[in-house]
Symmetry: C2
Subunit: 160 residues, 2 copies
DNA sequence: GCAGATGTTCTGTTTAACAGACGTTCTGCT
DNA sequence: AGCAGAACGTCTGTTAAACAGAACATCTGC
């Protein structure tokens, strides 16, 4: 219980970790974990025009994306189909199953967020989110975040 | 710029990542990175009575701690000396150099925190920290955090 | 003094990510 | 049309990090 490190960093880490843990629990056995979720989301919302576009968007290595998609495809959540305009590229589209799974996951993730934030009143929750958002925006100006996944990778080699 | 994932998780990740990055930059070439800093801090503040106590406190594997301490010792920042009461255990004590390095690091980390929080006014900064602290406390009740480092490890296998 | 427990280190295995090579397909130039 | 070079996706090999378990040294209780 001693303040091992700077209090701010420690608390931030605790909260972030709790969110990560809740998120993982919510995602459950989805192939690829949180990255599977992100791929699924992108395939529905953004209709990525190629695998490599998806890679760049999510900050995932091409070689990793390959077997990530393999797993998702094996679970019938997405399909790789050759792009009609350029047969080098594969279009990543969500199946009906994948779409259904995504709406379910969104719900669960919403609960996960609520779980982490349950220590605050509704008003505090709102101000916290607002401040966090301002902070994120400011930080993004200072040093644009390449991607959501990149963050995780950096963190892996980093500190709390 | 599309909201890939839940906004809360994304913003939290962005801010956390920014902090991590700033922290790493502040720590610089310290052997062991942020863990080196934590070990150094613990060796000064808590005077750990054994390596394994340190491991448990920081959530670092024993085998990892071994070469982490090797590196720190090689840099003359800490010393392993046999405990007078039990010669099986090694006392980890900071050298004078290590102590000086730590005060310098504390200063740099303070700047790093200020850098991340520079997007908020002093008042907002204060409320943000307070809310974060309440959140961390609450989260800790729900599911006690074993350690600061454990968080990072979990995050490595996780989401933003 | 001996059996078992504990602290630390070493070895081997596993996992994850990345760099590079390869086959396929497209684009630009002649 | 045909060819050189680039781009996309996949596969192979290498590297780094973490953990499990064995091995060694030392302590505690009987």
């Amino acid at each position: 219980m001693t303040a091992l490190e700077d209090d701010f960093g420690w608390t931030l880490g605790v909260v972030f970790r709790a969110f990560v843990k809740a998120t993982n629990a919510a995602v459950g056995d989805l192939p690829g974990g949180h990255r599977g979720y992100q791929i699924l989301t992108a395939s529905v919302r953004d209709q990525p025009e190629s695998q490599s576009a998806l890679c760049q968007q999510l900050g995932i290595d091409r070689t990793v994306m390959t077997y990530l998609l393999d797993d998702l495809e094996r679970a019938s959540l997405v399909e790789r189909r050759p792009a009609p305009t350029d047969r080098r590229t594969r279009l990543v589209v969500a199946t009906e199953t994948g779409r259904a799974r995504l709406t379910e996951l969104d719900l669960r993730l919403c609960h996960a967020e609520a779980h982490v934030l349950s220590g605050l009143s509704a008003a505090d929750r709102k101000t916290f989110k607002a401040l966090l958002c301002r902070l994120a925006g400011h930080v993004n100006e200072l040093d644009p975040v390449p991607s959501a996944c990149q963050a995780v990778q950096d963190i892996a080699a980093s500190t709390s």
